[in-house]
Symmetry: C2
Subunit: 376 residues, 2 copies
Amino acid sequence: MRVAGLISGTSLDGIDVAIIDVNEALTPLAWATIPYPPGVRREILSVTNAIAHTGLVARLNVLVGELFAKALIDVCSRFSIPLESIDLIGSHGQTIFHEGIPSACNGFMIACTLQIGESSVIAERTGIPVVSDFRQGDLAAGGQGAPLVPLLDFHLFRDDERMRIALNLGGIANISVIPAKSVIEDLIAFDTGPSNMVLDSLAQRMSLPYDMNGEQARKGRVDEELLKRLLDDPYYKITGPKSAGREQYGEEFTALFSGLSSQDALATATELTACTVSDAIQRYPGKKDIIAAGGGVHNPFLMERLATRFGQEVRTTAEWGIPVDAKEAIAFAYLASSHAQHRASNVANATGARKAVILGKLTNPFPDDRGAVPWI
Amino acid sequence: MRVAGLISGTSLDGIDVAIIDVNEALTPLAWATIPYPPGVRREILSVTNAIAHTGLVARLNVLVGELFAKALIDVCSRFSIPLESIDLIGSHGQTIFHEGIPSACNGFMIACTLQIGESSVIAERTGIPVVSDFRQGDLAAGGQGAPLVPLLDFHLFRDDERMRIALNLGGIANISVIPAKSVIEDLIAFDTGPSNMVLDSLAQRMSLPYDMNGEQARKGRVDEELLKRLLDDPYYKITGPKSAGREQYGEEFTALFSGLSSQDALATATELTACTVSDAIQRYPGKKDIIAAGGGVHNPFLMERLATRFGQEVRTTAEWGIPVDAKEAIAFAYLASSHAQHRASNVANATGARKAVILGKLTNPFPDDRGAVPWI
């Protein structure tokens, strides 16, 4: 089965596209990030965790669907992959709201999430069945709706001999802990704390889009006192399924660094990521491989600090044929293939769900001359 | 196949539930309307075609899903129908925005719609597969996303001998024109103009929730001059797929009646409905049956005026075993069964779509011990 994965992250940089053949390796045939038109990025921001007209939400849902479809069509054309050779699309969409912890509402305990990027539009423009809305099913089963990448980590990295830690250095850092010889139920995954989200906003104080190669952080000095204070946050002590709210590392958090020079602030924030990631990993004793992906892998200073803290080399998913920037899109392609095989794909120890569920909803194009989906 | 249909209309009175066995007649085994808790109705209104926090939209999406699931479970229990005997749910959800006419947006022509009532929640609570989000597919194919009931009208009323007109007297009045011996492509359907929406808001000027049995209208006198002016609206002359915006019969429209006594206003508005419906129907010459459903059927004065205008009796869907208040819920159960059979279910002459499409998205519960949906 050939599957395309589509996702745009909360950074709103653009639409990640990856095309895989579903097999042992999952090395993508093609992958790319297609930027959003600048005006669209601004419009999406205006409805993200914000007050907006429901008509604008409805309109952007369709527009993002059009752009997702176009991104896939463009990538297929650029890499000379016939669109008709793709059997299925897994589309995560664009998150505009997420609240994984339930709260009381009219007699129900309600946790919720909202992704836009209309699957009916993607199916109609491409002629390919689409699985979408992956997070809702896990939330309905009492989970936090995140993280969903652990299923892919298990598929790629589980080993009979060694424990594997899949580390993602995105806006937030998270890990999947995959013991040697484990079955899926043994897998543990959670957000460890901040990563690029804080580094990027501190770099923006210096009018840089981000701290290229960690050069500014490398010139700074860690403020040990502030670091110690930051590490006192009880979040880092909690075990079990936990997700770090994007809110908790926004403006208010970066303001804590305001007494420091920008370079010292970057050095201290880098050390905070290195500490919190390595403390989280060191809870799982034994020989292990640490396998990183995400934008943070492009920051050699952060990678050095992590290696020093761990006392061992940090490998990357690229060694396994998974480009570090394509892993999430590959994950949603893989989750779509699980849906197609009618397999559950949430990991209860990662999301906190009461039970396994089939993630995603299926939207079929018509006519479907490939004869798929005889229903009953 | 036994299917449940769930819908809440724009009047927000509550959740219509109907349970059918899919066969020639589609007479429901059970049907009921379960009112929304009053606080929920108010909250939904606050996000309907309005400015609201996207977090509230996300939260109400889940809450309405919970209430839809509960409504079905309650109806099953009240009518002693085992939940496990239901094979499929068709859930329309609750519309919070609809704009069927496309307008330019970042280089795309975009029409859009937004329904809430999370299908993953309904599937998880009931253990039954859910087809939802019926309007999006038609919009993606260039249609207005409405009306979708004509497929049911065709199934129920198409006749070898006589033309049939299925008339729905809801907030807005609409008709499906089904010529004798027709195939689905011959079917025409559109909104004829206002109905209960205007009558109800004029009754509310008299502090009545609505004009029970049309008693106040019957005591009034038609203002012929105002009626003539209202009938001059070019909307009534357009042919082909057209839908009357709910906006166009709101406050501004009822203000046109402000020079009249409440009873005269009601009499005039009733005559407007009778005229516009009968003018629309008279465009299709020949012997025909007129078969009405919707809340307006409970208004004997409106039914008399219609019969007088037509010069013939107005029958109701009840004669065909379809309770006049359950027709829409039955329609979405029937559309779900079409989806399950991988059949297209929009009617191009009704919605204006370029092509036939499979309406809806499928959400499967897990585990599904009925062994449905082997994918590929």
